[in-house]
């Protein structure tokens, strides 16, 4: 009746996961109780859960990403503390079976459920506003993509309470991930959570690519788009190109586990190396999917906070497209040591070194953007400057690793771990926080507390370097990654320094949370009345904060690059209002997400009747959606005019401020 599911699936005899699960459940129940007590269910359902507005969906993505970033950070705290404690005769406090799940969950959550939703959320919120249009190309599809990602995240977290997680690392290499060596449900949780979330990501890639190529304001040719839109386009193209490879590879592993196929098994001719090859053919583009939008965010910030247009716009576009294409030609550098031989290693090593040129072009352009400008060191700019310093060093260690003979010594050492955290934290995480600080006023109508924001940055920046510099040293000394116990006493002081760094990072996280709480409390004092708190250059700053549902009462006529900056210099035109059609809210997205979660849970625990029922339900939802008669509501012209008064008031406020 319930497949493999029994009461033993709950970790009654393991205190740490049990307590963690209890805390998470308490937090969820507390949130539900709060919503019920304040009578906000109708509001939540109508304004957020069934919303197809890209601004709402973008905010929900960011909230999901931040929550999962926190969960991944807690995993990291446990890993660092275990390694600092378990040196020599001491055993630490985490048994190996548990430690393995923690590092696997840490990587999976951080990349797929932390960084991806954060980056995708920012792209979702900002791109239509920067393009001067009302929404993305496929609003209901957008909602479905979000709820599928949330379903995947939910499954990963359910594994904490019911069952176990994979012990294979964040990429489940066979034969360890095959049924023979991982007979439990851990790898299955991973497989289905990632497949479901991967579908959500693919939906996003298609949506954003179509929007950027086919849905732009009149007059906005390709070379008049803001830089963030170009990087969002490159990232979305990579999503379309890379995620199908992941889907296929995980499906093959799934067929091996569920149906006795022999893609990657030890017997009957399976080839484990092929898994490594295919999964990194996805895995390398994935990190560029994450970092390219971060580059775009920094382009926006550097030009806004220097008061100058971005230096070398065309070379930036060229560099972005160059990185996009070449990122699909370097994936073997993740397995130089697999034994492909000199020819393939040399070819991919050279390609890896070449791709650094694209980023180099970008870094020089950012520096030249600042040169001769009036640089303002507000919080987003601090994150940007911290990024340049951190990411350039991380990139250099990457070029070191790109040399195959060097990589033979450093592969899977802590040097590698330090390198990829250097570029992902320095690039993606710094970029996401910069973007949140930058666009928060636009999304919510009030600014974030400036001094707390600066403090959070300095704690994060310092904490990062204190945590990861020792790891570079340890890697060069020969320490491998993923060790639950450390045998070399000479490594102990370095591990202590690294653990201290984590404490600094934790303080940074607390201050960041405090910034949010304090800003919400003081939101009237921090209110943004002009819609343009940073004296921005692109079209999102020409809307009120927060923008109305339809973004622009009249689609702007774009005359050139930095469209909003141009408009600010010109006179205000009297707009002619027309009725606006808006897509209707629908529960399709959240219902599909629910059925996806049920199907995932069912297939993990071999509850076949539930799987069939979930599929029928999902298909029925699709038919109901396809059968609806009205898919748009119309806002009458008079209502548009009334709402637009907020924008006109903001323009007047900006005039008086200037």
């Amino acid at each position: 009746m319930l497949g493999k599911l029994t009461w033993e699936a709950v970790p009654w005899n393991q205190p740490i996961p049990l307590i963690a699960a209890a805390l998470v459940l308490a937090a969820i129940l507390g949130a539900l109780a709060f919503v019920t007590a304040t009578g906000r269910w109708t509001y939540l359902w109508r304004e957020w859960i069934t919303s197809v507005d890209h601004k709402r969906i973008g905010v929900m993505y960011v909230l999901l990403g931040l929550a999962m970033l926190l969960r991944g950070f807690i995993d990291a705290v446990m890993m660092r503390s275990q390694q600092a404690l378990a040196v020599g005769h001491s055993a630490g406090y985490l048994p190996p079976e548990h430690y393995d799940q923690i590092f696997s969950a840490h990587g999976t959550i951080m990349i797929l459920f932390g960084a991806m939703p954060l980056v995708v959320g920012l792209m979702n919120f900002v791109v239509p506003l920067q393009l001067g249009v009302r929404d993305v190309a496929f609003p209901t599809f957008n909602s479905t993509g979000f709820w599928l990602t949330a379903a995947g995240a939910l499954l990963v977290n359910v594994s904490l309470v019911v069952g176990e997680f994979a012990r294979t690392g964040w990429l489940p290499y066979p034969p360890l991930s095959e049924t023979a060596y991982s007979p439990g449900v851990g790898v299955d949780y991973y497989l289905w959570a990632v497949q479901i979330a991967g579908l959500g990501s693919l939906i996003n890639g298609i949506n954003l690519t179509t929007t950027i190529l086919k849905v732009r304001a009149p007059g906005m040719g390709y070379l008049r788009m803001p830089m963030f839109c170009w990087t969002a386009l490159a990232s979305s193209l990579l999503i379309i190109a890379a995620f199908p490879v992941l889907t296929a590879t995980l499906a093959m592993l799934g067929l091996d586990r569920y149906a006795g196929f022999h893609f990657f098994t030890n017997e009957a001719g399976g080839n484990q190396m092929m898994f490594v090859n295919l999964v990194w053919a996805w895995g390398h583009p994935e990190v560029y999917i994450l970092v390219l939008p971060a580059f775009g965010i920094f382009s926006e910030i550097f030009s806004t906070f220097s008061g100058k247009p971005l230096f070398g716009y065309r070379s930036m576009v060229a560099a972005t497209l160059f990185i996009c294409v070449v990122s699909f030609m370097v994936w073997l550098h993740h397995f130089f040591t697999m034994g492909g031989g000199g020819d393939v290693n040399a070819a991919f090593g050279i390609a890896t070194s070449i791709i650094a040129v694209g980023t180099g072009v970008k870094v020089y352009n950012w520096i030249f953007t600042m040169y001769g400008g009036e640089v303002r060191f507000e919080t987003p700019m601090l994150w940007a400057l911290g990024f340049v310093f951190t990411f350039v060093i991380g990139g250099m260690t990457g070029v070191l690793l790109a040399v195959p003979p060097a990589d033979f010594l450093l592969h899977n050492s802590l040097f590698l771990v330090a390198h990829f955290h250097n570029v992902i934290v320095g690039g993606v995480v710094f970029g996401v926080f910069a973007g949140i600080e930058y666009w928060f006023p636009k999304a919510f109508g009030f600014r974030l507390h400036e001094r707390l924001g600066k403090a959070a940055f300095w704690l994060a920046f310092t904490g990062f370097w204190v945590t990861f510099t020792p790891l570079y040293a340890l890697g060069l000394m020969g320490m491998t990654r993923r060790l639950q116990h450390v045998d070399v006493p000479e490594w102990r002081p370095w591990l202590y320094v690294s653990a201290a760094g984590v404490v600094i990072l934790a303080a940074g996280a607390l201050v960041q949370a405090a910034q949010l709480v304090v800003s919400i409390r003081r939101r009237e004092a921090l209110r943004d009345v002009t819609g343009d708190p940073w004296n921005g250059r692109s079209l999102e700053w020409s809307t009120p904060s927060p923008p109305p549902a339809f973004n622009f009462a009249v689609l702007p006529q774009v005359q050139g690059l930095d469209a909003h900056w141009r408009a600010k210099q010109a006179d205000l035109a009297k707009p002619r209002y027309e009725p606006i059609a808006t897509p209707r809210n629908t529960a399709t997205g959240v219902v599909v997400g629910v059925f996806a979660t049920l199907m995932g849970f069912a297939v993990i625990w071999h509850i076949w009747w539930l799987l069939a029922a979930g599929f029928v339900g999902a298909y029925a939802t699709f038919v109901v959606f396809a059968w609806r008669d009205r898919d748009e509501d119309e806002i009458p012209a008079r209502e548009v005019a009334r709402i637009d008064r907020a924008r006109l008031a903001g323009l007047r406020a900006r005039e008086t401020r200037a």
């Binding site: 190309a137 849905v215 040719g221 590879t249 067929l255 196929f261 009957a268 295919l278 008669d629």
Partner: protein
């Protein structure tokens, strides 16, 4: 087309947002390209594992050219009738649209029946996907295509039910466009499949 007209074009120029038909069609085209990339990953696995027969039967022992020829002919014919349904939709003829769609569905279903028979026969001979890595890759690749055809038939049936009820409204016309793209792309993938896996594979 003059340069000025190109610049003023909607969608890919400065003419403002494209119409819904173009937006929907282009988005679906991108989805199909992602699907082709997914097939190429299964293709790559098959290419790597083509010789890993683990002492079991290989393509030469198993494939029946007449069956493959029949499957190819059925799918090609269904592509043709699908094109006819597009013409019928443009001409707003409900009867011809439904007939062409029905023909497409029947031809596609016949294709699936032949393929299911082939799979069942292989399993009965002990040449199922659990026998060797080569057979795993074969069943996954060809089976993935078959699953897509089956999904297409489900979609086809839903649309055949919907058009008489709702008429030729803009949303349904856009879905017909998407279905046409989907069905023709499946045939393009089958061309790759039958050439490389069956014809070349039997020679190996």
């Amino acid at each position: 087309m003059s340069a000025a007209a190109h610049v003023r074009a909607t969608g890919h120029g400065q003419g403002g947002p494209a119409s819904k038909r173009i937006v929907v069609g282009y988005g679906f085209w991108l989805f199909l390209l992602s699907d082709i990339v997914m097939f190429s990953a299964f293709f790559a696995a098959w290419a790597v594992l083509a010789r890993s027969t683990a002492g079991g039967p290989s393509g030469r022992d198993l494939f029946e050219p007449p069956r493959v020829a029949a499957e190819t002919a059925l799918l090609l014919a269904s592509s043709f009738t699908c094109g006819l349904s597009a013409l019928a939709t443009r001409a707003r003829s409900l009867v011809w649209t439904e007939l062409a769609l029905l023909a497409t569905g029947l031809l596609g279903a016949a294709f699936l029946v032949l393929e299911a028979q082939e799979f069942a026969g292989l399993v009965a001979r002990g040449a199922g996907p659990q026998r060797s890595a080569f057979l795993s890759a074969f069943f996954a690749l060809v089976g993935c295509h078959g699953l897509h055809v089956a999904a297409g038939l489900l979609w086809l049936g839903t649309m055949m039910a919907q058009i008489p009820v709702k008429g030729f409204r803009a949303t349904l016309e856009r879905r017909m466009l998407c279905f046409n793209l989907f069905w023709h792309t499946l045939d393009i993938i089958w061309v790759g499949l039958f050439t490389v896996v069956y014809l070349l594979g039997a020679g190996a």
